[in-house]
């Protein structure tokens, strides 16, 4: 099988939630000594990208997206040990969590898995996270982006508090703050001074890519 055909097969298998085909093709890539990093990037991750688009188009929903991610993980586990050290580039770090008072973490988990499969290093703070913890951990981890999720109108104020804490500590410009979740809107993001609002998990990946590119362009 040619490289291109195998990559396409892997991407299709991720979209089809077909774990056994992902496993078979990943093994084949290893046997054929295809570059493992490229196989993940051009095969598995491409499939996840397509799954994310299907999710955004409302053809796939949460259970489907989770199963695609499960298939992707099967492939990554096979290929990862074969990645050459020199190719392990520095990944951009993102801290993510559900704000204090809120334990709805389905959305956050989706964003996390889409970001990880797009190559970001995601530090997951979990759910019901105190506002200070977002800031403390972002500093500790030298993250570039802080993503905060809330599914309840009750807890949205906490997002504003995170932005205020960053301002008070004089480190606002070191981080991009992205917010998301059911009751949240672009208007609310503007109001509290967040850098961006993401309406869904797939959009969050595009945003993260844009924000790190912007970040790279800004003079230090």
């Amino acid at each position: 099988m040619t490289k291109e055909k195998l990559y396409k097969g892997l991407a299709d298998a991720v979209v089809d939630m077909d774990e056994s085909t992902v496993a078979r093709l990943s093994e084949e890539a290893v046997c054929n000594r295809f570059d493992a990093y490229e196989t993940i990037d051009m095969g598995l991750a491409k499939g996840m990208e397509r799954a994310g688009q299907l999710f955004e188009d409302e053809e796939y929903f949460v259970p489907e997206l989770l199963m695609c991610s499960e298939a992707l993980t099967v492939g990554v586990d096979i290929l990862k040990p074969h990645i050459r050290r020199s190719e392990r580039e520095d990944k951009h770090k993102i801290v993510i969590g559900v704000i204090r008072g809120d334990t709805h973490d389905i959305g956050k988990n989706l964003v996390k898995l889409m970001l990880s499969s797009a190559g970001f290093e995601v530090v997951d703070l979990g759910r019901d996270v105190p506002t200070n913890t977002f800031v403390d951990r972002a500093v500790e981890e030298s993250a570039r982006i802080i993503m905060i999720s809330s599914l309840m109108t009750t807890t949205m104020e906490g997002m504003k508090e995170v932005v205020s804490i960053l301002q008070e500590r004089g480190i606002r410009s070191r981080f991009k703050v992205v917010i998301g979740g059911g009751p949240v809107s672009q208007g609310f993001a503007d109001k509290i001074g967040a850098d961006a609002y993401s309406p869904n998990a797939n959009h969050a990946v595009r945003l993260a890519n844009e924000l790190v590119r912007e970040d790279a362009r800004e003079p230090k």
Partner: protein, 341 residues
């Protein structure tokens, strides 16, 4: 204007009969109005009132009087069911509602089935039923609404939600067995509420949304169990409200198959359009809870009047209220309904 009681008005609305104006209610559970303002001005407070029947009925009474909602809504959380089936619950505080601390089962295949009738036998469920009983005895004219967490949401509160959602695709049989078990328990619990005197049962199933499940899985795993629960409540002799969270765009044809007596939806749903598309439906909703928290009396009144022009049958908040919602805004909501109607 006051010729019919709030109870009769609500029951007539749910039965599709004519009324002088829509009732304005807040059914309890996820959508309860035990806001901080009500508690600080009275003697009944959370989290204590989650456990004690007298405190619970006392608080429900204060909520009703202070807010102007035309019902008692009990309980004030959606953790009673999952706790009875094995989940750890964090009871929260005055400001913060209870939540599931940890789901005990990592997948649907590992759920331990407890003997039938377990929800009704736990102390917290007994407190809920006692509170409903005493309120419905004391106030014949004000409907007591018993709030039950929907089957899918209860199941996703005892099984870790991420594996649970995957199991809806990969372990269908085991997922159905868990939902069958959970649904049976919820039916028993709802029946006890009705026997205690609940005038209406309200089912909120926030995990069973079109946005999370999509139409296919909603049809296979949400719809049949919601209908089974609704049928059991009907057999017990009272009507049912079903609340579906989030955007319903993808599940409109499924909503038409729900056998509840009223459909309550989130703020982004246009109820007038939904009514046009689903003839015969009784609509409930859907005043933005964000507006209730951050708006003022004027903006709330204006929104209420706009909503009432959509011919909504039962006026209610669109979602769970923030506990820091100002009481003035809630009063502006309920009095605008009374004045406009």
């Amino acid at each position: 204007m006051n010729s019919i009681s709030p109870r009769e008005r609500l029951l007539r609305s749910l039965g599709g009969k004519t009324v002088d104006r829509p009732p304005v209610i807040c059914p309890g559970g996820m959508m309860n109005a035990a806001v901080v303002d009500v508690m600080t001005s009275g003697i009944y407070k959370l989290p204590e009132a989650h456990h004690d029947p007298d405190l619970m009925s006392g608080l429900a009474g204060n909520v009703q009087r202070e807010t102007g909602f035309e019902n008692f809504g009990i309980p004030f959380c959606m953790t009673v069911e999952a706790e009875s089936l094995g989940s750890e619950v964090d009871y929260g505080s005055l400001e913060c509602e209870p939540k599931i601390g940890r789901e005990p089962f990592p997948s649907v295949k590992e759920v331990e089935f407890r003997p039938r009738g377990v929800i009704g036998r736990t102390a917290r469920a007994e407190a809920v039923i006692e509170a409903i009983t005493s309120l419905s005895r004391e106030y014949e004219d004000i409907p007591a609404i018993g709030s039950v967490t929907g089957p899918l949401s209860t199941a996703a509160s005892i099984v870790d939600p991420m594996p649970f959602l995957k199991d809806l695709r990969r372990e269908k049989d085991a997922a159905h067995r868990v939902l069958d078990y959970v649904c049976g328990e919820l039916e028993d619990y709802a029946r006890l509420m009705v026997e205690g005197g609940a005038s209406v049962i309200s089912i909120a199933d926030p995990t069973a949304t079109g946005e999370i499940l999509g139409p296919k899985i909603f049809r296979e795993f949400a719809l049949p169990y919601l209908n089974r629960l609704a049928d059991a409540v009907h057999a017990a002799g009272v009507p049912v409200i079903i609340h579906i969270c989030g955007n319903v765009r993808s599940i409109k044809s499924e909503l038409a198959l729900l056998r509840g007596d009223a459909l309550s939806v989130d703020a982004m749903v246009n109820l007038k359009a939904l009514k046009g598309e689903t003839p015969g439906i009784t609509t409930m909703g859907n005043l933005s809870t964000y507006l209730l928290e951050f708006g003022n009396e004027g903006s709330v009144g204006k929104s209420v009047r706009a909503l009432m022009n959509q011919d909504i049958d039962i006026m209610a908040p669109a979602c769970g209220l923030s506990t820091s919602t100002p009481i003035e805004n809630i009063r502006a909501f309920t009095s605008a309904v009374r004045e406009t109607g």
